[in-house]
């Protein structure tokens, strides 16, 4: 039996299990670059406008640090920079996909089931890698095709797609290695994300010193980072095809490390020893709230850090963004319509923070649905068979669904205020003002968290419908105004009612109304949860 026997079957199994998720992330990432290209083509029609944009915005050190270098003022070059984050997203998706089909399967014991059938030793890892590699190749081709269709040159389109796809391949392989190291999928994801984070920080540090396409003193850091290679193929600006070899070599080396480990270790075991925990519980782990803290704290920390970073970047870029669109009436119109306030920077900050509100709602929904996840995993039943009432158990999870978003939005507001304040020279004032903007988003976020809670209590089988509601709000908020939908339709989304507190004329009434709605949703959630079967299958 060859060590690869059975790979084909596993590939088919993975494709079948991922038949929804895989197409979604491929398509989502595939359409964005072309849409950036057409947006740039429309916004900056003359060479002068593009040159001004390049000089004022695209070359701004904080933009370069965040998105990567920009090589020239062609539509293609600008698009490539704008799509810089997508490289990171493709790498992330690839990494998670491989871990999910290797270590997660092993941890759940499903690999054992398959391992007992005719399956080569390399089959599991190979199948996961093959599927993810293929997904990246397809993604790269779709991106290239989309850019060509948007009117960009073929060579640049192809090399950009290839650079992104091969970065995905590189990090898929990193995921394959991480999955060999730890016993838990969570640990493997942690290692993979650590490598990805390190690569991002290296690229950020390497690019930070430079402006535009000219590297800074520490540009070698970007050459060390696997995330630094995709921008350095110089798509649409004198393509350097040899750079594509770097991610291929990197992936090959990582695979050469991963494969021998995958054979030498036992099924279910990792290379790194599992960490032991305490033999007795600390005094705080004594009830549903202590437990909820243990279950939610990691996520709360992660979201808080993420929102803090995001806030710093948003605040730092606000002035540059305002400068960039200073002369452009069309952009000013759009932003004014979205923000409806006095200065452009404020409009930019307001609309950016309202976008983070959607992300915070995602966190709130996730935290509320954790209660349902606990139930379906069979971990609610033993607790509810102790002297803990159903409402206290549910309330412990909902506490994080409500207070978690408050914390992360406050941090986002403060971080935005800090970096914006630094750039305009008024830290104290901006800190408070933007904290206010962050907190003003909370009631709308609560409505969605409350809705998720109600679904958990009342229609547990359909609790993931909360995500669909969030997606609906996202669509209404993003394209509703552009499509000139009626106000009635826009009003369906709670986010429509969040006032622009950086402007002058706003009232607290909508915030109170949203909070009252949330309270009603929560009361209903607790009430319906009292009277249903546990577990509800």
């Amino acid at each position: 039996m060859s060590p690869f026997t059975g790979t084909r079957h596993l590939v088919r199994l993975i494709l079948r299990r991922d038949r929804v998720v895989l197409p979604i992330w491929i398509l989502l990432l595939a359409v964005l670059p072309a849409s950036y290209a057409s947006a740039y083509a429309e916004l900056y029609q003359t060479a002068d406008e593009r040159a001004a944009y390049l000089a004022n915005t695209a070359s701004n050190p904080s933009i370069v640090a965040l998105l990567g270098p920009v090589f020239g003022d062609s539509i293609g070059a600008l698009t490539v920079q704008r799509a810089g984050m997508l490289v990171l997203v493709a790498a992330l998706a690839s990494l998670l996909t491989v871990v999910r089909h290797t270590r997660t399967e092993e941890e759940a014991g499903r690999r054992e089931l398959l391992g007992a059938t005719v399956l080569g030793r390399y089959a599991g890892l190979t199948a996961a890698l093959l599927v993810t590699y293929a997904a990246n190749v397809l993604l790269g081709l779709l991106i290239a095709g989309g850019l060509v269709a948007a009117g960009l040159p073929g060579a640049g389109s192809l090399i950009f797609g290839a650079g992104l796809a091969l970065t995905g391949v590189a990090f898929a392989t990193v995921g394959g290695l991480a999955a060999q190291l730890t016993e838990s999928a969570g640990g493997a994801r942690g290692i993979g994300l650590g490598v990805l984070g390190l690569a991002f920080v290296l690229r950020l540090a390497g690019d930070a010193g430079g402006s535009g396409g000219a590297g800074g003193k520490a540009e070698w850091l970007s050459w060390v980072s696997p995330l630094g290679w995709a921008p350095r193929v110089r798509a649409f600006a004198g393509e350097r095809w040899w750079v594509l070899l770097l991610p291929v070599l990197f992936a090959a080396v990582v695979a050469l490390v991963a494969y021998p480990i995958s054979v030498r270790r036992d099924l279910g075991a990792g290379v790194l020893p599992p960490r032991l925990g305490p033999a007795t519980a600390g005094p705080r782990l004594a009830g549903p709230f202590g437990l909820a803290w243990r279950l939610h704290r990691g996520q709360l920390l992660g979201w808080t850090l993420g929102f803090g970073l995001l806030g710093l970047v948003l605040g730092g870029a606000a002035d540059a963004a305002a400068d960039a669109v200073q002369g452009n009436q069309q952009v000013a119109d759009i932003l004014a319509r979205l923000g409806g306030t006095a200065t452009l920077a404020e409009a930019y900050l307001g609309s950016s923070l309202s976008l983070t509100a959607l992300a915070a709602a995602g966190y709130g929904i996730q935290a509320a649905l954790r209660a349902r996840a606990e139930e379906t995993a069979g971990r609610a039943e033993p607790l509810l068979a102790t002297a803990v009432s159903r409402s206290r158990w549910l309330a412990a999870h909902l506490l994080f669904a409500l207070l978690g978003p408050v914390v992360v939005l406050a941090v986002a507001g403060l971080a935005t205020g800090l970096s914006y304040g630094l750039s305009v020279g008024d830290v104290g004032g901006e800190l408070l003002r933007l904290l206010g903007v962050g907190l003003a988003q909370v009631p709308a976020v609560w409505v969605l968290a409350g809705l998720a809670a109600l679904l958990v209590g009342w229609l547990p089988r359909f609790s993931s419908a909360a995500w669909a509601v969030l997606a609906g709000c996202l669509l209404l908020g993003q394209i509703g105004a552009v499509l000139k939908l009626s106000q009635w339709a826009l009003d369906v989304s709670p986010f429509t009612h969040t006032p622009q507190v950086l402007g002058d004329n706003w009232t607290v009434t909508p915030l109170v109304a949203l909070t009252v709605i949330t309270a009603a949703l929560l009361a209903l959630a607790l009430r319906t949860f009292q009277t249903r079967d546990i577990p509800t299958q």
């Binding site: 925990g277 305490p278 971990r379 102790t386 002297a387």
Partner: protein, 298 residues
Amino acid sequence: METPIEVSGLVKTFGRTRALDGLDLTVRAGEVHGFLGPNGAGKSTAIRALLGLLRTDAGDVRLLGGDPWRDAVALHRRLAYVPGDVTLWPNLSGGEVIDLLGRMRGGLDPARRAELLDSFELDPRKKGRAYSKGNRQKVGLVAALASDVELLILDEPTSGLDPLMEEVFQHWVRRARADGRTVLLSSHILAEVEALCDRVTIIRNGRDVETGTLSELRHLRRTSIEAEVTGSVDGLGQLGGVHDLRVDGQRVRFDVEDAALDAALRRLTEIGVRSLTSQPPTLEELFLRHYQAEQVRS
């Protein structure tokens, strides 16, 4: 002293399925009560209804003198429950889960906790994700057995335990009974029920089909006789109450109803006996008889 568990005419439906169809179950104070049935018979559903986790459609459920749906919190303080498939939080250690569950029930005995960990050979420092199935069950069992409660509700608690640990488990259940606690032990492991239980209820298709002490259940059942005889076995088959007679030279095997046992033995001694073994019906046979009857019917 009140009767810890009294269920009568309990009905629970899930959509069109009738998971419980008029179940009666009485568990007396201080006894270990076996709750026996094949997979899907409704054991876990009955237990969840007892715990007030499921809303019942008809019938009466009394738990420790209260209504488990209405008085859940107060009643749960007095009992401990181990599900058939203990799932743990991946990032909590076994010791943390034991303490958490114990505290949520209102405290556990630290000395007994240590003794239990020792006899079940469980390392409490491992994280939930690192435990095998058997060790996860041990975490649930230690948490329940270390709690100071009147009633233990154990739903197939030993699935995944090896025979050595099965012995340990039986020791602790006997100790719980000696301490005056009541145990409801759902199981499909007959040896375990035979070894531990004072009384047994057999459930099939959501309904109790048999209940009583083991000897009561064996009553009116057949005893298996195997004998080596010296003479001819003529006439044995004509006796009333003798079934499944098999003759192989000088060896005879047959099952006999308790009422006919005396006559059958007399006949055997008339023929002349060289050796004789008699076996009471095992629970297994009782169980299979019910189970096969059901299959024949369907």
